[in-house]
Amino acid sequence: MIDKGAPLLALDKVETRIGPYHILHGVDLVVPEGGATMLLGRNGAGKTTTARTVMALWRASAGTVTFGGRDITREDAPTIARLGVGYVPENMGIFSDLTVAENLRLAAISGQLDPKRLEVIFNAFPAMKRFWLGRAGTLSGGQKQMLSIARAIVEPRRLLIIDEPTKGLAPAIIANMIGVFRDLKATGVTILMIEQNFALARAIGDTVAVMEDGRIVHHGGMAELADDDALQRRLLGLSMSAHQ
């Protein structure tokens, strides 16, 4: 049962250091269950670090991360993944020596691929069916991104963390992805997406958080930000309407 609006993921004063660098300076972020939260900000603001900290790929040096009411700050990445968190990293993280089929089989922790979910994936990304037995390394950039997303949704997840899924993709593929993410949202899955493409962010996002220098500097409804050019300029340095 999805409690729409209740926080599924919450970060409280999270700080992350990578070697000598202090990247996150007390991030407070709430991701409500059942919607899409867009994490925006300039390059280097700390968005990817936030996602990696949630996944325990980098450790929070201070603060707490809670998922579904459970403190996961000290948990490791496999535990967090098995709690129902799917992760699509910025570099896609596909296993290029494995086939598309092997990538998806591995992503199914249960060891079994659900034919119904596969049909959903094949409908959304027909290339996955076409290249089923092809090596993932031979796919195009867009197809690799599709595979990366397909892997994250091959089993039911409570939360999907997706880091810049449209980076480097052609507009036609991005338009297709908007449809896919909307369909995903309709299934009730919660999405936390890092995105630089404002058109996609506005099309999908319910709530938005903006980061700057390792902190959340704005948190609110997507509609509120989308309708306020001045706010966009202040937070992001440009206007969404200029980037349609």
Binding site: S96, W132, R135
Partner: protein
């Protein structure tokens, strides 16, 4: 799983051209060596000896291929497991001399199998301890890995000397594995045929596990992107401990076979073959099972042909072989891991 999912849609699959040239290399070397050897029966004897030697080298190298090629652990102590295998095999064969000398093929096979099993088990157990004590604390740091594993090799060698003595040990093969079969005028040693069989079984087994099982999938994926595999819910530490232990067990198996092949050896048996193993892995390409096999066969064949035709450069032949292969393919014959 529904049919449309499993059925290959061959028309649209991007075809990977199969790179057959490295597979043909041992054949090319064998054919090229024929005029140098001259006599066809001598050539056949050398070829079978080279292939058998190559298969034993593959068996001892396959463990390091997994550990160095796949896990990126520079294990200079791999020779310790080979030496352990050889001495544990000896420890089984000596007390069971009546079985070794018996005219019964069954008793000979049983004592041979016991020696192999004991070598594998002891090397596996020591490999587990080795991993916990020496490898895990220095994971990801090559310089420290070299220092720690070289230290581990020295410790194991000294323990072997303390237990079995520093002198050269010698022992006999089980009776039915001694001698040769005659193939025309070529003498084919029985043990070499057995070594060919065991090496082939190890190769097929590794290939099957790595390409047809879920564990194999996890290993191949973990090698390419360990972090992503963890983010998908898999604990790679346990997986890589298992790979290290299997690598040690294969070295133990190869150690028993190498010891029986030499029949005279000291505690340095592992250290002496260490360089050869690294040559094989570098020739084959990091992480490639097939490359490792071809590399081992090339080393075995070259050693035998050169040892016969030009003994003075026999010691140098493997380095020259590696040099030529790397000039042709700087990443080795087949590259699996980018490193």
């Amino acid at each position: 799983m529904s049919k449309p999912v499993t059925a290959p849609v061959t028309a649209d699959i991007p075809r990977q051209p199969v790179d057959w040239l490295p597979v043909a290399l041992p054949l090319i070397v064998a054919v090229a060596a024929f005029p140098l050897v001259g006599n066809p029966w001598t050539w056949l004897t050398l070829t079978i000896a080279g292939l058998a030697m190559g298969m034993i080298i593959f068996t001892v190298s396959s463990g390091l291929m997994l550990v160095f090629g796949l896990m990126d652990v520079l294990n200079f102590g791999h020779g310790a497991f080979i030496a352990l295998g050889a001495y544990v095999g000896l420890a089984v064969l000596i007390p069971l001399t009546p079985w070794v000398e018996a005219t019964s093929v069954l008793l000979n096979s049983a004592v041979f199998a016991l020696a192999l099993c004991a070598g594998v088990i002891v090397a596996g157990v020591v490999g587990f301890v080795f991993d916990r004590l020496l490898i895990q604390p220095v994971y990801g740091n090559h310089l420290k890995q070299i220092l720690m594993t070289t230290g581990g090799l020295i410790i194991v060698e000294q323990l072997i000397r303390a237990i079995w003595g520093a002198e050269t040990v010698s022992f006999n093969l089980p009776a039915s594995l001694r001698g040769s079969w005659l193939l025309g005028e070529a003498a084919v040693e029985r043990y070499r045929i057995v070594a060919l069989g065991i090496g082939s079984a190890v190769f097929l087994g590794l290939l099957l596990v790595l390409t047809r099982t879920r564990i194999g999938l996890m290993i191949r994926a973990g090698v390419e992107n360990r972090e992503m595999l963890e983010a998908m819910g898999y604990r790679t530490r346990h997986l890589f401990v298992g790979v290290f232990v299997v690598g040690a067990m294969l070295a133990g198996l190869g150690g028993v076979m190498w010891g029986l092949y030499l029949q005279n050896f000291t505690a340095s048996i592992g250290a002496q073959i260490n360089v050869l193993i690294f040559i094989v892995i570098i020739i084959g390409g990091l992480g490639s099972t097939t490359g490792c096999l071809i590399g081992a066969l090339l080393v075995g064949l070259t050693s035998n042909y050169v040892g016969f035709a030009a003994p003075k450069i026999a010691l140098f032949s493997n380095i020259l072989l590696m040099l030529l292969i790397l000039l042709w393919r700087p990443q080795g014959l087949y590259r699996v891991v980018d490193r």
